[in-house]
Symmetry: C2
Subunit: 145 residues, 2 copies
């Protein structure tokens, strides 16, 4: 119990710090919720404002203004929902997809530089952990939350 709990705390701590560090290395110039919203649009297809707000855990007016920014930057666009005249569907544009690609590449590059400084055993341990980490994510995405 104590053992597992310690590892868990370690993992949470380590993830925390790595993320902070990655964020600093790749100064995004766009806010973190901008990126995660684009990610969500890329993964789930055109979505309603209120659905996006719920996924990103921000308020509906907050998402309205975020979408306004995305639209102004040409990274997403509003299309009308044929089935509901009140709703607007938000769709990622090619420019939005390009932004995601570029950012992911930049982060991978920075992380890659650090990985080069680890030894083979350490790198192997990280590689071996990726599938479990991915499972962790997909589990939560299908969870009710």
């Amino acid at each position: 119990m104590g053992r597992i709990q310690d590892d868990t705390a370690d993992l949470a701590d380590v993830i925390d710090r790595l993320t902070m560090w990655l964020r600093r290395q790749v100064p995004t110039a766009v806010s973190s919720s901008t990126i995660t919203t684009l990610d969500s649009l890329a993964a789930n297809g055109p979505s309603r404002i209120s659905d996006l707000a719920e996924r990103e855990a921000i308020s509906q007016p907050g998402m309205t203004s975020l979408v306004n920014r995305l639209e102004a930057a040409g990274q997403a666009e509003r299309v009308s929902d044929p089935t509901d005249g009140r709703a607007a569907l938000v769709r990622i544009t090619d420019a939005g997809l390009a932004l995601l690609t570029q950012r992911h590449a930049a982060r991978a590059l920075v992380l890659g530089r650090e990985l080069d400084r680890l030894d083979d055993t350490e790198r192997a341990a990280l590689t071996a952990a990726v599938p479990a980490l991915r499972r962790l994510i997909t589990m939560r995405e299908s969870a009710s939350l």
Copy 2:
């Protein structure tokens, strides 16, 4: 090369998503830089404003105002630097340490619940990766950046 690069992108992606998810599960009520600054104070002892600003990669006025907030909340305090009348040393208080402890416990709890749903092999892979992740962090902390 391609192989390692793919793993790297995977790792960056996975870390990204895990962090977003952790952040949402444990709505912090305090900003992320508040926490990381307290962390830094706990780890490195009383520090100057400008040193903190550099470590956290925010501007010096930004750190001044962050420290003002910490002080107002009773989580840190300014003490005068005996060796330099211009400088203020910022020191974490017991309340600040308690906040860190509580937050880390909350995150570990949430993460632990998910880990329980993995199988033994997956958990072992994660545990095995922790030391390498930690090395990754300590490397960058001692780097010149």
